[in-house]
């Protein structure tokens, strides 16, 4: 039974996954167990994505199925506490930029790979990054951007982190539509990642982890 839900979610069988979830709840099973299966399924999805067998729509759709499963088990739902995660990451789309699709995918992939992700959202001012870094003390900071207008904002954010004396505490990765190695150099970041998997691999290199 348990294997069923893991398989159904990871094979993107929405209807059947919901049916099984409801059956298991009805039979009085601990909702946390159901949720754990959901998380397990997402790891399989993440693995298939990293192997190039799944694509962004598969991530999105599996995320939607998990959301629907989670809605049904909500009363018993508890957040996995951060200390069970393998490392902390602060990320956001830089100041003035309102794009969030790519950033959300990175957050999603980092999350299913076991990182504690603090997603600051879009249009994040340098000081907001700095404040969050001070508060959370992450090992990795991710900056996303989609416009040539924000090349400067990338640099301003790294500069603000340096000015706050935090540059040696964190590794900085950048990504997004118009970013590349050239922008990384300009901004003074540590690495550029082309997609969500690259972000996961960078974080693993820097923090360690499975």
């Amino acid at each position: 039974m348990n294997e069923d839900l893991v398989t159904l979610i990871s094979e993107l069988k929405q209807k059947e996954a919901i049916e099984i979830t409801e059956q298991r709840l009805k039979s009085g099973e601990d909702p946390l167990k159901i949720l754990a299966d959901g998380k397990k399924a997402m790891q399989i999805v993440g693995q298939r994505f990293s192997e190039g067998r799944y694509f962004i729509p598969d991530l999105v759709y599996s995320g939607k199925i998990l959301e629907q499963v989670a809605e049904r088990v909500k009363p018993g739902l508890a957040q996995v506490s951060d200390d069970r995660k393998i490392g902390k990451i602060v990320l956001g789309t830089v100041a003035g930029d309102l794009h969030d699709i790519g950033k959300n995918l990175v957050t999603f992939m980092l999350d299913v790979n076991g990182f504690a992700v603090y997603d600051l959202g879009i249009d994040v001012k340098p000081q907001v990054f700095v404040d969050k870094i001070k508060e959370i003390q992450p090992r990795v900071v991710g900056m996303s951007g989609f416009l040539t207008s924000v090349y400067q904002a990338m640099k301003d954010t790294v500069d603000a982190i340096s000015a706050a004396g935090l540059r040696n505490e964190v590794k900085v990765m950048i990504g997004g539509g118009v970013m590349d190695e050239e922008v990384r150099k300009f901004a003074g970041a540590d690495a550029y990642g082309q997609d969500a998997m690259a972000a996961v691999n960078l974080a693993k290199d820097w923090i360690g982890g499975a």
């Binding site: 999105v60 759709y61 794009h99 040539t148 207008s149 050239e182």
Partner: protein, 436 residues
């Protein structure tokens, strides 16, 4: 027998009907259009054309903010004419990228944010994606009556000042005097509906002002010997559904949950997209119809999904234009290496693929005998690269992608921020190194 593409390109190259400032301008126009026509038709031109895709660059480069450019059409016009004289590109858009913000403000348009309003004054405007229309509100309504969907559902949803239009009766019922006009036209008498109609009138006035500036500007660009950038715009049906109505994730979910309806809606969008491109290009007297492809890039769907949902309806739109002698120009945003074999299935010498991110060697290898390729200069190098780096990059592209013709030097996206000297190097170095 001459095919329609050749006939249309020849008509464009002739420059008939253009009032040139002098004979030198006329000769320059003919050289430039011939160069473009040659690369489209995969013949070797005199040299590699260079067409910088100026986004907000002309305004920022001439001391304006992006805010000024989108609110003051005259200032935008003056700036682009300076850019034209300075860089002498092989085709030129004019100030068409500085969309008229007052038009959209009159409508209360939600899908864009403007510099100097919600975003910094020197930033380009930004599109704000969302699932504006839920699946259950979209598919059935659109399939039944696209115009009614646009008028009474989409526009009221994305334009706050047009929200009252959701209340009027469908125009499909406007048969005549005793059936509807006596009664249901009362909606047009309601104060809030009248406010919405006034908002439309105000938007119309702004549109007319903007179009008038652009029309008169186009005459000046042509008179100086520069071909215009394109005649009209069209789009991939999948992007139309995703961009405007369902959002990136919404349309992705629809591929799993309602594939038949999605395909049916896209089929309905094919003739609409063809007609939109044809009518605009015919009005603009220009053979090229531009597309901006957003949601079919590498990774954004599986190869199978691309071949099922993205490519077939897009290809139909392209073929509809090609059959009438027009040349689709497709800006392929994102990575496109995994799509090359699929998009090679198009008649030879009839379209331009403009890449942001691709394996350039592979692109030339797979598409070189089929379609003209454009792009190759990263926006980041235009922004912060050295002259050496830039020249090396251009050289590499021309040596590989430009081999035997079929290549246009450009950035892979509409660039806003870039160093003046780098843009200058891009056009000047291409002019010298790109000679065949």
């Amino acid at each position: 027998m001459e095919d329609k593409t050749t006939a249309n390109l020849e008509k464009w190259c002739s420059g008939d009907g253009i009032q040139f400032v002098d004979e030198a301008a006329q000769a320059a126009y003919k050289r430039r259009t011939r160069r473009i026509a040659d690369v489209i038709q995969l013949k070797v031109p005199d040299r590699v054309p260079v067409v910088p895709s100026f986004g907000m660059f002309p305004y920022l480069d001439n001391g304006l903010t992006c805010e000024e450019a989108v609110f003051d059409y005259q200032k935008a016009d003056a700036a682009v004419m300076k850019t034209l004289a300075e860089f002498k590109p092989d085709m030129f858009l004019g100030s068409g990228y500085a969309f008229p913000a007052p038009l959209f403000e009159a409508l209360g348009y939600r899908q864009l944010r403007w510099p100097g309003r919600e975003i910094p004054t020197h930033y380009v405007y930004q599109f704000v994606e969302d699932e504006y229309i839920k699946a259950e509100e979209f598919y059935d309504h659109f399939l039944q009556d696209p115009s009614d969907f646009m008028l009474r559902r989409y526009l009221p949803r994305v334009c706050s000042n047009l929200a009252p239009l959701a209340r009027i009766r469908p125009f499909a019922e406007s048969f005549g005097y005793y059936l509807t006009m006596c009664g249901s036209y009362a909606y047009f008498g309601m104060p809030e509906v009248q406010q919405a109609l006034k908002a439309l009138m105000k938007a119309g006035e702004e549109s007319l002002k903007w179009v008038s500036v652009l029309t008169e500007q186009a005459e000046r660009i042509l008179a100086r010997g520069y071909p215009l950038y394109e005649g009209g715009e069209s789009a991939a049906p999948y992007d139309l559904v995703g961009d405007w109505f369902r959002g990136t994730t919404g349309v992705m979910v629809d591929m799993y949950e309602r594939p038949e309806q999605l395909l049916e809606v896209m089929e309905k969008l094919v003739p609409i997209s063809i007609k939109m491109g044809l009518d605009l290009a015919a009005d603009g007297n220009h053979p090229i119809v531009g597309f901006m492809l957003h949601k079919g890039a590498d990774g954004f769907m599986s190869p199978r999904q691309f071949e099922t949902f993205y490519w077939p309806p897009l290809r139909k739109v392209m073929m509809g234009l090609i059959e009438e002698g027009f040349v689709p120009l497709l800006l392929c945003e994102g990575g496109y290496t995994s799509r090359l074999e699929t998009i090679a299935d198009i008649p030879k010498g009839k379209c331009i693929y403009w890449f942001e991110n691709v394996d350039w060697n592979k692109a030339k290898e797979i598409l070189g005998d089929t379609a003209c390729i454009r792009g190759g200069i990263p926006a980041s190098i235009l922004f912060s690269g050295t002259t050496r780096q830039l020249k090396d990059c251009i050289k590499e592209r021309i040596d590989v992608v430009g081999k035997g013709g079929g290549y246009i030097v450009d950035c892979g996206l509409w660039f806003d921020e870039a160093r003046h000297e780098n843009v200058k190097t891009m056009v000047e170095f291409t002019r010298s190194y790109g000679v065949y």
